[in-house]
């Protein structure tokens, strides 16, 4: 008879020898660096162009995001439909995304279709024309979408908490109003496009089961484009956190839940505390077994979920706690959250719990490195944050060795309620 009360023996994940598969790097003739990870069994490929074209560089609100959105809505010889039709015919996805510092164009496709798709991406990078009628449709539909989103307490809370932490003038803190859409002009987009895409700073990331002639293919279509002509001017933008710390907003008088956000400024990945705090954050609210989840969801049932995380920013960032809780228990949720911070400040984390979190984090890393797209995503994050593979091995070492005493002193340093912005949006 098996003893079901006895857990099977496990290999401690902290004993694992995790390796980050290195990338292969080469430059196109025009100097554009390509980072490639060749792995995986399926005949699929991901190709991502990263431009320094995020909202960090725009002079007027929403220009960066709009330029990015409309990149594939028309070239001299193809209208938006023809471009979409071309990619979709081959079962490929061409997506684009705008972030704070960077903006991307990403292709997912079966590798066999690459030769048909690459020339059209080159066309998009050099010959996008941003038709007036496309801009008009975009404005109208985005305004309508915004109107719907503004009815949602979580959407409103996410905007406001960033504003409090970074300031509305800061790329991480600003957001869009319907007026911003009205004020957009086509020539602002074409100018931004010329500067930050066509001749902008570009990095290429590619992963999957890579065809042999990939390097040559990329060079044929992208190696002679006028990319990387302009050095990116490193503008420093200082955050201007709000002075008032506590806010309650009634967005919907019939709302049955409140979106709660607690946030404090936090340094970026280059700060010596950063990796250790990742461990502390996991204990606080970083996974299902975290203290916030155990207390506020699994013991009290105030919410469907509560999470804490460090925002993914290149510059100064924020430590955030986020949940949607019943309207009547919003205050109680905040009180319990501060209580959990206090416990982390005043009591040592017991070895058993710390050991579990360490195993969980290493096990999670193992999962995060499974597959070519996951590996390249990690490398991209390091490269854009100016980090090397040493960061990966250091972070593993940190997870394995950080002590309860160190975590308590970090809790004392960072988890003080008075330093948190506190927001409830109902």
């Amino acid at each position: 008879m098996i003893n079901r009360k006895q857990a099977p023996t496990i290999l401690d994940a902290v004993e694992f020898n995790l390796q980050l598969k290195p990338y292969h790097q080469f430059n196109l003739d025009n100097g554009v660096p390509v980072y490639a990870v060749n792995a995986g069994a399926e005949e699929v490929i991901m190709l991502e162009f990263v431009f320094y074209a995020g909202n960090w560089y725009e002079e007027k609100n929403i220009v960066a995001a709009t330029t990015n959105f409309l990149l594939k809505n028309g070239t001299t010889s193809k209208n938006a439909f023809a471009i979409n039709e071309h990619f979709e015919f081959y079962g490929a996805y061409l997506s684009r995304n705008c972030y704070n510092e960077t903006a991307t164009i990403t292709l997912h496709t079966l590798a066999k279709h690459l030769p048909k798709l690459l020339p059209v991406i080159a066309e998009i990078l050099t010959d996008s024309v941003f038709p007036e009628d496309e801009l008009a449709i975009y404005k109208q539909n985005q305004k309508q979408r915004l109107e719907v989103n503004l009815k949602k307490c979580d959407f409103v809370a996410n905007r406001l908490i960033d504003e409090y932490v970074f300031g509305f003038h800061h790329p991480y803190g600003k957001y869009t109003s319907t007026l911003d859409y009205d004020h957009l002009q086509r020539d602002e987009l074409t100018k931004y496009y010329q500067q930050y895409y066509t001749s902008g700073k570009c990095l290429l990331f590619v992963a999957g089961k890579l065809p042999q002639q990939l390097e040559q293919q990329l060079n044929v279509f992208f190696g002679s484009l006028p990319l990387n002509q302009n050095a990116i001017k490193e503008t420093e933008i200082i955050t201007k956190p709000a002075t008032e710390k506590k806010y309650t907003i009634i967005n919907d008088k019939n709302g049955v839940q409140g979106a709660i956000r607690l946030a404090r400024p936090f340094p970026n990945r280059h700060h010596p505390d950063f990796q250790k705090v990742q461990v502390l954050n996991n204990i606080l609210g970083g996974f299902f077994g975290s203290r916030l989840m155990s207390n506020i969801r699994e013991d009290k049932g105030y919410t469907y979920g509560i999470h804490s995380y460090i925002q993914n920013h290149i510059h100064e960032t924020a430590w955030m706690i986020s949940t949607e809780a019943g309207k009547d228990v919003c205050e109680a949720t905040i009180t319990e959250t501060y209580k959990e911070m206090e416990i982390l400040r005043t009591q040592l984390i017991d070895e058993d719990e710390l050991h579990l979190v360490k195993n969980y984090m290493i096990g999670g890393l193992l999962g995060d490195l499974d597959g070519p797209f996951q590996i390249i995503a990690r490398w991209k994050n390091y490269i854009l944050n100016n980090l090397t593979e040493a960061y990966f091995y250091n972070s593993i070492q940190t997870i394995k060795t950080v002590s309860a005493e160190e975590l308590q002193s970090l809790a004392k340093k960072y988890l003080n309620p008075s330093e948190f912005y506190q927001l409830i949006v109902i």
Binding site: G91, L110, R297, E324, G326, V357, G367
Partner: protein
């Protein structure tokens, strides 16, 4: 081609092993043949609430998550109208931990009052977060109730109303468990860096002596063929008018499933699809528009859903949808367009197959609906669809009598 080995334990538990030695991970997926369609109409939301309770401790193990996390693993679960699925992934070396945990909660739950009490609240907050406190959050509550008159697809997995979840008691929980959560009603899939021989031993060791249970005989009243168009007008505090239209389509195992799937692709898959190009871009009647179906096991609904550009009248927007449907009912789509949606399908399947989690999930699903080998014949079934099939099936489903329409008005536009 996805290879797997299959065997059945003496208690009726079906086990499939899909070996993939390129990953350091193992996935353990347990699918139970029970979903919201198996609920009583006065106790809806129960299958999903029950899914939460599966994490509230089992007969020998007080906490499911903690030992799994300690073994470096992660897990989740979901409930649909058709089925309930639990999956975890962990370093392959620690796979026995998953067997220990999953088998104990198949053996018996702890049936803790505290867990029931808390999870009732958690699910109520989930209900509020997704369906009450969101603009248009009640659209599918209304549409399901309109489109189905007797079939249990007429309620959502979250439940018909909060009170059903609030009133669930521990006796309900126990009888539900012993009726549905038995080896004879479950499928176990193990995928990743594992060996079939070793999995056989582990399966015997941990699941082999769980009592088989009775095979659940599903006895669901089938929805009668709809004979006249249904319309619901509704006004809510939302910023924009919206329209949601559905038509009854065949179930997952019918050949028409593949045709219906390609029809949704032609109409609404991507920015070059017919509805998006015509109604969002050219006529500018909608600010957003989607066409989809849920892939339900029993006969489902093909859906077109969109938000209207302000100032556009409902009737005009609806008319424009009908005009597009008329085209696909009348004219054969050309070879280029047919090849396009088939290419898309090939690509979707290849991307899905990248993750062992997806492969394990698909194997369990196909076994549940009849035969795991279906996983390797899907693409050829799509390839076999002809433009004539598409026109004929479009003609069959896109009729007034088969349609359900929800006009969801903004109170601000009246």
């Amino acid at each position: 081609m996805i290879e797997f080995n299959k065997f059945t334990l003496s208690n009726g538990l079906r086990v499939m092993v899909h070996e993939d030695h390129s990953t350091p991970l193992a996935v353990v997926n347990v699918m139970y043949d029970v979903g919201a369609r198996d609920e009583q109409e006065d106790k809806t939301g129960f299958a999903h609430l029950f899914e939460h309770l599966m994490f509230g401790g089992s007969i020998n193990i007080p906490d499911y998550d903690e030992p799994l996390q300690r073994a470096g693993g992660e897990n989740n679960a979901y409930t649909t109208n058709d089925l309930t699925n639990y999956y975890c992934s962990l370093p392959a070396e620690n796979i026995e931990t998953a067997f220990w945990l999953e088998s104990d909660r198949m053996l018996s739950l702890a049936f803790s009052e505290k867990s029931l009490d808390v999870q009732r609240k958690v699910v109520c907050e989930e209900f509020k977060e997704h369906y009450i406190n969101k603009p248009y959050g009640d659209v599918w509550h209304k549409m399901r109730a309109l489109a189905y008159t007797v079939h249990p697809y007429k309620w959502m997995t979250i439940g018909k109303e909060l009170s059903h979840v609030e009133n669930a008691n521990i006796q309900d929980v126990k009888s539900f468990f012993f009726k549905h959560y038995r080896p004879i009603n479950a499928v176990l899939v193990v995928a990743g860096k594992v060996k079939t021989d070793e999995i056989k031993l582990l399966a015997e060791k941990w699941f082999g002596n769980i009592e088989s249970g009775e095979k659940y005989q599903r006895n669901i009243v089938q929805e009668p063929t709809q004979t006249k168009a249904k319309l619901l007008n509704y006004t809510a505090d939302v910023p924009l008018d919206a329209i949601i239209k559905t038509w009854h389509i065949g179930g997952r195992l019918s050949t028409s499933y593949y045709i219906a799937d390609l029809i949704t692709e032609i109409l609404g898959g991507g920015s070059s699809s017919r509805l998006y190009q015509s109604l969002v871009k050219e006529k500018q009647l909608f600010s957003s528009l989607d066409c989809y179906h849920f892939g339900t096991i029993e006969p489902g609904l093909l859906t077109i859903e969109g938000k209207l550009v302000k100032g556009i009248e409902m009737e005009k927007a609806e008319q424009a949808i009908e005009e597009e449907l008329e085209k696909i009912k009348t004219n054969l789509i050309n070879e280029h367009e047919l090849e396009k949606v088939k290419n898309k399908t090939e690509s979707v399947l290849a991307f899905e197959d990248m993750s062992i989690m997806n492969r394990a999930n698909s194997l369990a699903f196909y076994e549940l609906i009849g035969d795991a080998t279906l996983i390797n014949t899907e693409l050829s079934k799509y390839q076999a669809v002809t433009n004539l099939d598409i026109r004929n099936y479009a003609k069959e489903i896109f009729t007034d009598n088969n349609s359900n329409t929800l006009h969801y008005y903004s109170k601000h536009s009246l």
